[in-house]
Symmetry: C2
Subunit: 123 residues, 2 copies
DNA sequence: ATCGTATATGCGCACTCATGCAGATACGCA
DNA sequence: TGCGTATCTGCATGAGTGCGCATATACGAT
């Protein structure tokens, strides 16, 4: 499936690009994960369910901000809420998020971005 | 640093949160992936190296826009460029990106966001 | 000069956060 | 039982910020 490299230039290879809708959904998922507070919240929720106040304490953010973040994550279907009295206990709704977070954090721990060498290819 | 402080309902056992630096790097990675054009470009680069014009054609975007996206990806260390005459052939520099993209696209293909049931838990 | 690529600037849009307020529920006390 | 208060959560608004795109310009190579 992967085209042979090297000589081909403008000719469109034979591999298939993802569908537009798929790409859009993936971008939206990444956009939701591109926030330190939401990453911490989701990481905490992957360990078990918790409430807004507890998550705010864990993430080091204001409860209202965490509530807004949870609302977005809920609309995206990444977390779900269970009401018990005044508290709302949230939990992760998708197992794929665990893999994405683990890979991203692992990548962040092993990446070496020491030099923003913009012109490493020029001479 | 977050930490003790009273008033925390211990619905979650003690577990370790990722380090602050790790979280920021992961968020930055996700932010770079949170764009349809960059997703298409990276997906194409995972199949082999290609030039700006070819990538622009594949992604359906202007060459200048693709060049700017590639500059950001290059500064982040996600792609690398090899100059050959007038052309610059880019290629993916990190194998972790492949896993992230695959999981995100797979997730996008399997997620069912048909129910933005925001108030599934409310009265 | 032409083509491929990189960079600078302005515009429009979306996002985050902080503030304030409202609804809902639990608790205390007469 | 009835009432008032405190707490938890959700929603709306404004300020500040960053991003992507389009345009124009510059550099390098043939």
């Amino acid at each position: 499936m992967a085209g042979m490299l090297g000589g081909m230039h403008n000719s469109l290879p034979d591999f298939e690009m993802p569908h537009e809708e798929q790409v859009h959904l993936a971008a939206e998922t990444f956009r939701l994960l591109a926030d330190p507070t939401r990453i911490k919240v989701l990481w905490a929720l992957l360990q078990g369910e918790s409430s807004v106040a507890c998550l705010a304490d864990l993430a080091g953010a204001a409860p209202t901000a965490v509530s807004q973040h949870l609302a977005k994550l809920r609309l995206a279907g990444l977390v779900k809420g269970r009401r018990e009295g005044t508290f709302v206990y949230y939990s992760a709704a998708d197992e794929h998020v665990r893999g994405l977070l683990r890979q991203a954090l692992f990548h962040a721990d092993h990446v070496d971005r020491g030099q923003p060498d913009a012109n490493s290819y020029s001479h």
